[in-house]
């Protein structure tokens, strides 16, 4: 599943301008606890979260997460967006809830670090 697919499935808005929309995202992880993300996410995955502070982008950076989706229309501040741009981590925002965001992506074949990919 590409970033472009994910954007379409979620009706999401891109907050960053850079980054290749054809990047293939094989896995996703969803959490508001950054230590859980650091412990359980896998590389080159998508992070789905309701938190929007700068540490979320730092977490993605150190854990080699490819892109972040913020749910329920929550948007990070401009400094956080600028940091993500600089680190080449595309950010997206969707109006969908966490549940619906995960549900729609799962339905289309995206899986967590545990299950098989479709």
């Amino acid at each position: 599943m590409t970033l472009d697919d994910i954007k379409g499935i979620l009706g999401a808005l891109a907050l960053t301008g850079r980054g290749d929309m054809e990047i293939d995202i094989g896995r996703a992880y969803c959490a508001d606890l950054m230590s859980d993300v650091l412990a359980f996410s896998v590389t080159n995955s998508l992070l789905i979260t309701g938190l929007t502070n700068a540490q979320v982008v730092r977490t993605a950076e150190v854990a080699d997460i490819k892109a972040i989706v913020f749910v329920q229309n929550k948007r990070p501040d401009i400094q956080t967006i600028a940091m993500a741009e600089a680190k080449n981590i595309p950010l997206f925002v969707t109006e969908l809830s966490m549940f619906d965001t995960c549900g729609r992506l799962y339905e289309r074949g995206l899986r967590s670090q545990m299950g098989p990919t479709v």
Binding site: L33, S35, L38, L51, A54, Q55, R58, T59, V62, D64
Partner: protein, 145 residues
């Protein structure tokens, strides 16, 4: 790049705007040395958790790194409250973080366990009322893990 290199980053307690920048810089340095991505990820995650602990709990501190062809060693030394019971602090889920830290996504009591999981060696020394030193080593040799 071969040979040894070392350096230090200074950390300020409660400086959340810059929290994580030392670990981010360290990650960049490791990338320049051409260290395998899997090892860089482990070192960066361990450094970030340790850096966040200094920012969250201490007044000030520093992160010192030493990279040799064999190992990455990172030492975080802080001036702060110290850890009264290190065994307890190491338990998954144990946390004294206040609510506003939890709202930032930290304080789930997984930081020190995450460091342990990613490092080949972890040493913690602490004096209550003075500060804490967290030292971890990651081996760069294939036999390391």
């Amino acid at each position: 790049m071969t040979g040894n290199s070392d350096g230090v980053f200074f950390l300020t307690g409660k400086d959340f705007a810059n929290a994580g920048s030392a670990s981010s810089n360290l990650k960049g340095i490791l990338e320049k040395r051409g260290i395998p991505a899997e090892i860089i990820r482990r070192a960066s995650i361990a450094a970030f958790e340790a850096e966040m602990n200094v920012i969250i709990y201490a007044v000030a501190g520093m992160m010192h790194y030493t990279i040799t062809p064999e190992t990455i060693k990172v030492v975080l030394q802080d001036m702060g409250p110290g850890i009264p019971d290190i065994g307890l602090a190491m338990q998954e889920g144990y946390s004294t973080a206040p609510d506003y830290i939890r709202e930032m996504g930290f304080g789930s009591g997984m930081g020190l366990p995450n460091i342990k999981r990613n490092a080949d060696k972890l040493t913690i020394n602490s004096v209550v009322g003075e500060g804490t030193t967290v030292e971890f080593v990651i081996s760069l040799e294939r036999s390391g893990r």
